[in-house]
Amino acid sequence: MKNNKTRKISKLKNDSKWAALMLTPNILGFLMFMLIPMVATFALSFTKYDMLRPPKFIGFNNYIKMFKDPIAREVTLNTIIYTVITVPTGMAISLLLAVLLDQKIALKRFYRACYFLPAISSMVVVSIVWQWIYNPEYGILNYFLSLIGINGPKWLQDARTSLVAIAIVGIWKNAGYNMLLFLSGLQGISTSYYEAATLDGASKWQQFKYVTLPLLKPTTFFIFIMSIIGSFQVFDQVMLMTKGGPGRSSSVLVHYLYQNAFQYFDMGYACALAYLLFFLVLILTLFNMRAEKKMGEIY
């Protein structure tokens, strides 16, 4: 009996050793490239550091500078505008596509592949093609608009439309991905709900409103959070298509962070901006989690 127990303990210890050994490469990478950099970024956000001289502690000055910096305010506002444009529109389009595809329908796989094509292509390729689409002189978008009698704007070259143009590309690229998430949510809804609703004489629209939408709420919530987090980190298409311009009209938080860190080499300030981004994402996530918890109580 006693022997058995000690054997068990020694086996557990042995297991722990193996576990530690098997975990080492992963933990090492996690510490080196994830956790320590996270902490170091926070520490550096309280310093002035240009990579030439050693970091100098300056307390909260970077954060104070951030609140006074009109550019920081403008890029944060642009990021929020971008989010407000892309998230609801993108979700509505993805949901529509998912509902349409969630039927017995011919060419299902073909449609799914088409919608997913932008999602698997790199933003660089997408940006190159969209720059042609947006070109005021020979682009296809203004050509189509001219067919219905609209004189198209200069899209990327106009401060009034540049952010919208960037947002359209964002919506276009992510529509298929979110559609797929919605589709898997829809397939999780039991058909018996619809059968019952049909028996009660509910129309298609009523079924959608009173069965599909409420039961799809967890999926919708998840996509909502992920889309917001994603759109707060938008960078590629900004850097590739407008470089933030004209002026600062399409510059976003990550773009400004990139400029500060890797063009102006103001590392301390860039770290403070990184934590502003982190803070905003954290607030949104916590807020959403609370709302979701409340929703859980309702059901």
């Binding site: 098997m22 990478g29 990579m51 596509l97 796989r109 919608y115 190159i128 020979y138 982190f278």
Partner: protein
């Protein structure tokens, strides 16, 4: 067979069905037109690209555009660099994620769940919070401007670890006990029993990390400034800046850049779809 017949019978042409198809076609066209134009202009001459109104086909197929790419740019280098980085990242990410995922799912040691919670928590931390100090770290090691700066930090993935753990949890404990009784140590149990079972999840993770690395623009932009070290996305972006007037050649280069992911997608559509759906799982 019987089922098929039944399905055919129930499909009627109704107005709703027609509207559905029209909408789906419209959506598909919106998604496809940019790619079709990319393909068609990669075969056009320089003047045809700027034709207004735009035309779908040029006078003749100009294959020359495809041969001109490597003559004008270090395109071959970009491609090779992309392949190097992708191979490294896919292989190591799968290996480190699978071993750690297995430990988190099936092995016991003190503090296991706390560490895993930490992993989960960092999954929502924006990438940009770590990139600055990772850059400083790489610069300290003298690795900036080498492909190592792209490969090393991507060796471990929290998402991959999470994905693999989710799979290994579903493996029955009896199977692992049986392997132990047969004299396997924990590593051989993992490698011979659990790892082969995880084939489809591994395929999903591999394809996901491949897509991520192959298309990544931000990381190379930060770490690389030597033209010969560029990966495809960065190379393409620089080609556009350097030689923006030659659209046909640029489009041909873009077509080639998209092809590998497209081929992977065509052959493994279900693994892709599974990956998206898995990324939608919370716990």
């Amino acid at each position: 067979m019987k089922k098929k017949k039944k399905a055919k019978k129930t499909i009627k042409i109704t107005p709703v069905r027609i509207i559905t198809h029209v909408l789906l076609m419209l959506g598909a066209a919106t998604m496809l037109v940019p790619f079709i134009w990319m393909l068609s202009s990669s075969f056009k001459s320089l003047t045809e690209v700027f034709a207004f109104p735009p035309t779908l086909f040029g006078e003749a197929f100009k294959w020359e555009n495809y041969f001109e790419i490597s003559g004008r740019f270090n395109y071959f280098h970009y491609f090779l660099n992309s392949i190097k980085v992708s191979l490294w990242v896919v292989i190591f990410q799968v290996f480190t994620s699978a071993t750690a995922g297995y430990v988190f799912a099936k092995m016991n040691f003190p503090g296991r769940d706390k560490i895993f919670t930490l992993y989960l928590a960092t999954m929502m931390v924006p990438f940009h919070v770590t990139v600055i100090t990772n850059f400083l770290q790489m610069s300290n090691y003298g690795l900036v401007n080498t492909l190592w700066s792209l490969m090393l930090p991507a060796t471990v993935s929290t998402f991959g670890t999470f994905l693999m753990r989710q799979f290994f949890i579903t493996v029955p404990n009896e199977l692992i006990e049986a392997a132990k009784i047969d004299g396997c140590n924990p590593f051989t149990t993992f490698f011979r029993i659990a790892f082969p079972l995880a084939k489809s999840t591994i395929a999903t993770l591999a394809i996901f990390s491949f897509m991520g690395v192959w298309n990544d623009y931000f990381t190379p932009l930060v770490y690389l400034n030597d033209q010969r070290k560029y990966t495809l996305p960065l190379g393409l972006a620089s080609m556009q800046g350097m030689y923006s007037t030659n659209w046909p050649v640029l489009m041909a280069a873009s077509v080639i850049a998209v092809l590998p992911v497209l081929i992977a997608f065509i052959f493994a559509q279900d693994a892709f779809v599974k990956g998206v759906m898995m990324s939608g799982l919370k716990d």
